[in-house]
């Protein structure tokens, strides 16, 4: 199995906990955890398979630590890279921009011809609008620890199974 790069901020709480669960499902040996707060730009180039943890901040923004990386990411080669996205979001307090960060990152990467994997169904969520919603599928895994924490483990497990299949790992 090829190594997967799991990129997220180590300073987060719920995103980091979710990342740990994802890593566990893949098997710790198969994943490198990379802290986007301290990484070098070139760290992106070490992996063909990557998972980004992009929680939604404020009214539908990427976290600043991701936002600040985008200008550097524009210069990298993304063609042929296989990316999956997950993000924490709150469907009750932020129903109009639920999980937007996942959608924003997917759109950003796609313009550089990265391939996005791990789409999930919007069923089971209640929200008004999401930048991650494409034809009733999220462009990644959305986890709502504020309102549906009891569903998160199952969602992670299913998503990892799906990714292993899509990536033929």
């Amino acid at each position: 199995m090829k190594k997967i790069g799991l990129f997220y901020s180590f300073q987060t709480t719920r995103t980091a906990e979710s990342a740990e669960k994802i890593a566990k499902e893949f098997g710790e040996d198969n994943i490198d955890k990379v802290d986007v707060m301290t990484m070098k730009f070139s760290d992106f180039e070490n992996y063909e398979y990557m998972i980004f943890g992009t929680p939604t901040w404020f009214d539908g923004e990427l976290p600043a630590y991701w936002d600040e990386l985008l200008p550097a990411m524009e210069s990298l080669t993304w063609k042929g890279r296989k990316i999956a996205l997950f993000g924490l979001a709150d469907q009750r307090l932020y129903p109009a921009n639920f999980g937007d960060a996942v959608g924003i990152m997917a759109e950003f990467l796609e313009q550089f011809q990265a391939e996005i994997f791990g789409y999930t169904s919007i069923e089971g969520y209640q929200f008004m609008k999401s930048a991650a919603n494409r034809d009733d599928k999220f462009s990644g895994l959305i986890l709502d620890e504020d309102n549906q924490s009891e569903l998160s483990d199952e969602r992670i497990k299913n998503w990892v199974v799906q990714l292993k299949s899509e990536w033929s790992l």
């Binding site: 404020f58 009214d59 600043a64 936002d67 550097a72 129903p95 109009a96 921009n97």
Partner: protein, 676 residues
Amino acid sequence: MKYGIKTTDKDKLEEWLYLMILGRKLDEKAPNYLRQALGWSYHAPYAGHDGIQLAIGQIFQKNIDHFFPYYRDMLSVLSAGMTVEELILNGISKDADLASGGRHMSNHFAKPEWNIHNVSSSTGNHTLHAAGVARAIKYYKTEAVAISSQGESSVSEGYVYEAVNGAAKEKLPVVFVIQDNGYGISVPKKDQSALPKSGDAFASIPNLKIIHCNGKDVFDSMNAMTEAKQYAMLGKGPVIVHAACVRIHSHSNSDNQELYRDDYELKYVKDNDPLDKYKRMLIRYDRITEDEILEIEERATAELKKAHNAALKSADPSPDSIYEFLYAKAYSTNEYPDGLHSTEGEKIKYIDALNTTLKEEFRANPDTFIWGQDMANKDKGGVFNVSKGMQQEFGSQRVFNAPIAEDYILGTANGMSRYDSKIRIVVEGAEFADYFWPAMEQYVEMSHEYWRTKGKFAPNVVIRLASGGYIGGGLYHSQSTEGVLSAFPGMRVVYPSFADDAAGLLRTAMRSEGPTLFLEPKALYNNPNAATTIPNDYSIPFGKARLLREGDRAAIITYGNTTHLSLKAAEKLSAENGIEVSVLDLRSINPLDEVAILKLTQKVNRILIVHEDKTFAGFGGELSALITEKAFEFLDAPVMRIGSENTPVGFNPILEKAILPDVEKIHKGLLNLVNN
């Protein structure tokens, strides 16, 4: 090319960093002035809005564009070119404060010389002014935009909808910037609207572009504002820029956000400080060094210190100056110094006098405009046809319908007159005077613009209102408003009773600087008793009463509809009781002809004040107090008043008659007075 950390010139990046550091230093220093009892009692910190505010100022072109900042826009105006010293002078309310010379609240930054306008504390009401000035930008074909800035909570105000809707309908070049920090003082935006992003409320309006940006990010904000300005200048319509910000500090000095925000949230917003982000990016992308940042910090500290020292030496406003700039210059001519004439010839009806005078002034001055509800559609010209034929003669760019939105009608008049002092605007403020109340906040605003800006801006606007009753109109169609509307210093108020007075005062109002409330007793529009001859180019100075009848037993002081009722009552008293009384028509309520009132009081010693408005809290109370204070020794009886009952005006004619003054009531009042 878009702005970005890798694409923007280093000089520009440094310039922005300097402005952001300098602004932040002042933002953090401002509360100290209050602690040291030096002023600045109101300071709304901008920290967290840095990206969008820097961008607003960078996009604004002084003397070309028009900018309406709100009270949190410190960095916006600094970025636009104002100096730190100018901001401190405003903060500590010095006489040299460019916005108002210490008259307006601190943190209301302005530089009218550059078209950075002095705006109200009534948050968001300047959206109407921005739409108004954009109307002039469009009419005069200027390559410019109006930029209006506000917080997201103020979008809850109805007049913001009026401004956006109207600007879209007229395809005006306005950029409405909504700086969204999530709070209106302590009220979270979820308590303001079901809509998380208030700018999206306008998404269904055609001709309107909505741009979302990260107001915490310099580059995203710069790109959004650049795109917005370019779009607005295409002539396709206005733009809303909804900028997502954070509020790092409390709303203002008087607020304590720890009472309603938890530690997690406070840390969360602090961690998203736009200035920190900008510095991090400059370092991370090797655009600037730590040492260079330190050098900029030191330079900013030095500039702030120098500005602080200079501002503290500046003079305070003088208490003797409070009456200065209350009223802008009134038009005057030596031809009719007392507003009297002896012209003979054909009598003209009141309504025709207004129509003719409007047309004459529109012919004489190409920079005249008129709008209102029902103003112009084919042969329709105003709800009572006062402006009939004007659109045909002067075109739809100068004579046009307004939405049924009284605040928009008045607020855009205020805004449009900011474009150039040569502009003269007449509005039909409402279909009927007692529909005017939605415009009250703009009316109040207009009344104190000249004083508040220390004479830098006078809205040259005549507000025409068809007033009063005796038409069986009932509520909202027959009530009087002058008791309320005459209570605002800075607003001239006239209420002519005859065609010649209407023509003369309308001409004076239209040629004067500053606002005039022009009340028209609509029951007299076609009343032959109000028809008179009118000299050519007739004008009447403000504040000149007219003695219509002389008698020595008592005097009636009146105006409007009741002038005619009073004359009839006086005739009845003469015919039936052999008693002669004077009748004085005030014509102007503000300024008031105190000389004529006191002179008459000295002569006849008994005064009856008659007006159509309620006696309770009516303008007659002011007249009575004036006479009592200044001519008490000449009175042989108490000053008496007759007005409408202290009720609304009923619709059924029986009710209307019971409520409003009439000849019988005045006659009876006169008998009581002379026999007292």
